[in-house]
Symmetry: C2
Subunit: 398 residues, 2 copies
Amino acid sequence: MSTAEEQTLARVALTWLTEPGTWSVYHLVDRLGPVTALDLLLDGGAPDEQLRATVAARSAGGDARAVAAEAVTRTERLGARIVSPGDDEWPARVDHLRRLRLPDAQRRVDTQTAPPLCFWVRGCWPLAEAFDRSVAVVGARAATGYGTHVATELGYGLADRDWTVVSGGAFGIDAAAHRGALTAGGLTVAVLACGVDRPYPMGNAALFDRIADTGLLVSEWMPGADPLRPRFLIRNRVIAAGTLGTVLVEAAARSGATQTTHRAIALGRPGMVVPGPVTSAMSVGAHELLREYPKARVVTGVAHVLEEVGRIGGDLAPVPRGPQRPVDLLDDDTRSVLESMPRRGVVGVDVLAARAGVAVRTTLRKLSMLEEMALVVRREKGYALASPPTRRSSRDGS
Amino acid sequence: MSTAEEQTLARVALTWLTEPGTWSVYHLVDRLGPVTALDLLLDGGAPDEQLRATVAARSAGGDARAVAAEAVTRTERLGARIVSPGDDEWPARVDHLRRLRLPDAQRRVDTQTAPPLCFWVRGCWPLAEAFDRSVAVVGARAATGYGTHVATELGYGLADRDWTVVSGGAFGIDAAAHRGALTAGGLTVAVLACGVDRPYPMGNAALFDRIADTGLLVSEWMPGADPLRPRFLIRNRVIAAGTLGTVLVEAAARSGATQTTHRAIALGRPGMVVPGPVTSAMSVGAHELLREYPKARVVTGVAHVLEEVGRIGGDLAPVPRGPQRPVDLLDDDTRSVLESMPRRGVVGVDVLAARAGVAVRTTLRKLSMLEEMALVVRREKGYALASPPTRRSSRDGS
């Protein structure tokens, strides 16, 4: 049996040898484990001609195992981490990509949609927790004032209700959604198409710094990796699969953001579209999507988004998590109170009771209990969550 | 057997006694004919208590037969006409209201949706022809610049492709749609909720004059009738049923225009919605409709509208028409050429051939044939339709 370190190293080498999403590699890893799969590929034993050629071409540029070892060192030096399937903080929902099939897929990016082999993560939150209650907000880079306004409001409103806002860190709609979430003091995740050490675009550097401080920068590519054009489209499947639903704010005809929304719909997640003026070129893609996909839903604000993801959230809720956590043992009221706590900052008892839909007296009783369990802490003006309950353990596990 | 005049008089009296749409009256007329139905009602023989009370209350204000006789005289003096079922120009499609059932209907206006008993019409075109290839464009009175722009473009574009633009003559979206159609030299129909002699609102008086000159003013209410508030909603079912589809451009939450679109959908017609900025109160109703009715379709321009009504137009095409007309005897190419003629103005042979999708030589041959049949006339720069082929006969029949 190989060690966890060997397995991680093999996964890193495999993501370097072939682009993420390649089904044949994913299936090999699934069957043989990453270490044996890597050995097989490097020995020229790839199951198909194309993969053999790809591996040979990459290997000509360096030794995969050495590259991987260097990447691991570089990751540690950065203060980033590598998260693999089986780790506590692995976001189980991205494995639903196993069942993603896009009818009429022709292009590589549409046929090669396997789950990721591993993630690079920068930021403190456990990845799985960050994605747990998350919504993607995506859209055009060349957004209009209208789109930027709407995306900011959505980002703010979702974060304010303790949903994580996931996007791609691009100019325009992506940046507006991240910024809205940050303004609300909420959690936001940028899923990148390049290394987490050099997030693209450079013009959003200050934004990326803020995201890394309070949220997460996530990538399937190792530090130093370039944001090659196809990678944005490869990356989009993770945004769609990692979240409970995707909201498209503005998109020109046939844009990358509409592709993310397609993937969400194909995965059975809500694909939500904010309409716009029909006179705006930046809403053409959004309206096209509404016309082409009967399952795409019109949303005009946070309330509509929550209506959609709330429903699907209920359906998908019992994501299998390894060990039982104290939270799993709570009664309904206590759990409501705990789940209504803001991720960051302090909340007054009255507000909390109203949010949780639990009587104030009961809320107070449950809060003392939660305090005893070290899940919340009392502050001057109310209560706050204790430092993320599983953060320490998750990081130890990665 | 009563004469046509007696029947018309009875229908007029019946529309005065009870508001249009009342099922019990419609069923009585259906079973007994209008003359006997009127006799029965005036003798206190209404089949239900409520109808008896309504008839009694109205009759206290005057003699129904005398009121009707006066209305007929007044109609003639106006140069208007009364069109009844069975007349050549009766728009058969409104009788599809027979099968309109609105689930969960509570209010009178939603339960009493029977087909009209008769129409008052001002304008030269035969009513049935005007409605034949028609689309409703409806929306908010307090429209924004955006909505007005879109409605004008739609009105223009539809009229330019020889579709009749039907609307309600109100301020805002309705007026913009009518104006767009008039600008294109096309046919437009205002379906009113008051007498055709005093179209409401007064502020649109100049517009109504232009519509009466080149299109039609239509109403279920006799000359002199007031635009009472509930009548707008009663009227809406005719807009929805008379056209091949309804386009909603802008609407505030729960507005009358969304109600017209509901009715179109309930009748199995395309209910089309132009989205708008989610930041605009004037698009809230439009987006609500898209969210509530999965069958509502997003449209962003004329091409989308034609896609929808073209399809349904094909389905519904063989509307039963009494006597066979010369046009019914034409071969496909000739009919294409004839149907591609603009309703107004002259068209060059090349343009006509392209529109009809028929070779220029063939088009020329078919045009001579049509000229011989007195259906088209040759002009200096091309061909024009002869004065409306069935206008004379239809008016004789009314």
